[in-house]
Structure formats: C-alpha cells, structure tokens
C-alpha cells in the first residue's frame, strides 16, 4: 500500500511540483498541486469541515448548499438576469441541482436584490407557488435524522416551505401562520413573534435522532408542533409539493438553503450556532437570532 505524504493546512509545501499530492491531516482533504492554475486542487473527505465564508465553518459537510448569489454553485457569473425566470440552480458542494422546468407559469424568478432594502441587498430566488425539481433527489432513510436549513422571507399572508416530497410537505408554514409538521400530522402555533413576514429569518427544520421533528425559527425558537414520523423521505421539489389547487406552497424569498441527511442529519449545537453566526454576519437581520 502506498502512503501519501502529509501536511496541515498551514504547512503546505512552498514550492510544489505539478501533480504533487498530499493528505492534509487537520482538514482531512486530499490536495493536488495544479501548475497551470498555480493552485492546490482540494478534495474533501466526509470528515472535512465545511468552510462557510472563510470565518465560520461546520464540522460536517451539507449534502447540498444552494446560494442565490451563486446559481452556478461557484460564483456570480452564471446568475440569471434580474427578474428573469430561474435556470438550473447548482449546489455549492456535491452535484445536486434544483432544476428549472418548462412550465413557465410555475418557474420561480431570480432577483439581484439591489432594489431591496433588506438582507444587505443580497440576491434571492422568489417563489410564488412555483417549484424546481431536485436532481438527484435528496433522500433521508427510515429512522435517520435530517436538517433543512435556510434563510428566507415569507410573504405577508402567504405560506412557506422550502422542500417537499412529491405528495406531502415536510414542513409548511400555513397562511394562518401555524407550523405544520409532515402531512396532516402535527400543527400548532409557532413561537411568539414568528414567523416573520416582512423580514427574512433563519428556518431550520430538523428531525433529530429521537425522530422528533420540529421547526426552529430564527435560531432556537420553537413552537409546539412536533412530528414523530420515522419513514424515509425524498425531497423531490424545492417549492410546492401538491398540485397548485392544494397550495402546499412557497410564497416568498429563498436566499440560501442547506440540506443535511442521515449520518450528518442532526447538527451539533456548535454547528447550529455556527450557521446562525454565519447568517447574522451575512444577512444583517433586523431581529436578533436566539442561540442554541
């Protein structure tokens, strides 16, 4: 068996040759020097931390990370024109995409955010009972946890959800403002003051290792709705799940969203707070978040 030379992220070789490959012991990355690009090509392992913005990081990697500022998953060069219907939206990690489709009345719209006075003028994807198709479908196994995290703004009088199964929603903030967990399974009032409707908030939908499912509003603010379903789910769609007539819909803005499934589906308290710190630094929320 051959063994790679090792280094750490702060002790990488200063004069590497093209194709040099090392294993980075502090980040669990494999790195290869690319002479043409004069850069290290980095390959994450499942144990590598996930760098959110150069300041905040997670101890685990999301299965998908969609950022409205990076529709191509890398930078802003692939963003649609302001006000245009959405094109395929690529995850910043892995190969997952939220695909556009050919039914124009149900396509969400990309907004560059410059006309907005909130969230630091960052771009968002606007849904008005619209949807995108997940490929591959993010799937949580039976008796396994998951977390769906996002920054989004619910319309006044509207409803809100991020991802849905083909037939049932996972989480749904009704037009009556109640939290609904799973389909016809649990619904109750959210915590006082939530969800916000004229300001984006952090949404975190979690099924923990006890199979208790809750919606966390803007950090550790929890309503009384708790779902306890244990089955597998495939989150086929971003946006509405049922036919429009049933309206399990997303009506509002999605700035960013991440999906964590199965073995990494339940985030540690440290990671939950790292996500909050990251979101606070990036989105300039009017209301303070509540730490876990």
């Amino acid at each position: 068996m051959s063994t790679l030379n090792t280094c750490t992220s702060s002790t990488r070789p200063g004069s590497p040759s093209d194709g040099d490959m090392l294993y980075e012991t502090d980040t669990y990355k494999t790195i290869i020097w690319d002479d043409t690009a004069t850069a290290w090509r980095e390959y994450l392992s499942t144990a590598s931390p996930y760098d959110l913005d150069g300041t905040y990081s997670l101890s685990v990697q999301p299965d998908a990370h969609f950022d409205a500022a990076k529709i191509n998953g890398t930078d802003g060069t692939g963003n649609p024109a302001d006000g245009a219907s959405m094109t395929d939206w690529s995850s910043c990690i892995g190969s997952m995409q939220a695909l556009a489709h050919s039914t124009t009345s149900d396509l969400p719209v990309w907004d560059d955010g410059t006309a907005s006075t909130e969230q630091a003028n960052l771009p968002y994807v606007y849904f008005d009972v619209d949807y995108m198709l997940m490929d591959p479908v993010p799937t949580v196994s039976q008796d396994h946890p998951f977390t769906i995290w996002s920054v989004g703004r619910k319309n006044v009088g509207g409803s809100y959800q991020n991802f849905s199964t083909s037939a049932y929603y996972g989480y749904f903030s009704h037009t009556n403002a109640n939290d609904y967990i799973y389909h016809s399974h649990a619904n109750a009032a959210p915590p006082a003051g939530f969800p916000t409707t004229s300001e984006a908030q952090v949404w975190m939908f979690e099924r923990d290792s006890n199979m208790d499912t809750r919606m966390y509003h803007h950090g550790n603010n929890v309503g009384t709705a708790t779902g306890t379903k244990t089955e597998w789910f495939g989150f086929n769609r971003m946006g509405w799940s049922h036919a429009t007539s049933n309206g399990f819909a997303l009506k509002g803005r999605v700035y960013e969203t991440m999906i964590f499934l199965n073995s990494t589906g339940e985030l540690s308290t440290t990671d939950k707070n790292a996500l909050l710190d990251y979101a606070n630094a990036k989105y300039s929320f009017a209301a303070s978040t509540t730490s876990f």
Binding site: G158, T175, S245, K251
Partner: protein, 69 residues
C-alpha cells in the same frame, strides 16, 4: 397568487395553449396546466413576473387566490 377562472376545463386548456404562442415561449415549453379550485372552477395561474409574465396577455378577469392546505 393570481388566477383567471374559466367556464370549463376545455376553455382553460385552450387559453393555456394560446399563451404558448402569445408569450412566444421557447420550443417544448408550455405555459401551465389548468387546475380546479375548491368550488370546482377550472382556473389558470397568472404568472406576474419572470421571463414570460402573462398579466397583460392572458384573457379573462384576473383575481387574487390564496390556496389553502
């Protein structure tokens, strides 16, 4: 969201087909599918924004509609 009501499914489908041409949609694209609201009426969703807004093109009376769970 906004909708337009039609007397029948057939008329709603006819309008959805007309919008493909009227909005100059790309080949293989369609405008949308009619659906029934709670009172049984067939309707089309009115797309208000994006690359192919229908607000000024769709025939019929545009109404507000808030789908319920």
């Amino acid at each position: 969201m906004k909708i337009v009501k039609f007397p029948s499914l057939a008329e709603a489908e006819l309008e959805a087909d007309r919008l493909i041409t009227a909005l100059n949609l790309p080949a293989t694209y369609k405008y949308g599918s009619p659906f029934q609201i709670d009172d049984g009426t067939w309707v089309l969703k009115v797309k208000e924004n994006g690359s192919w807004p229908a607000t000024d093109t769709i025939r019929g009376t545009i109404e507000d509609y808030e789908p319920e769970a």
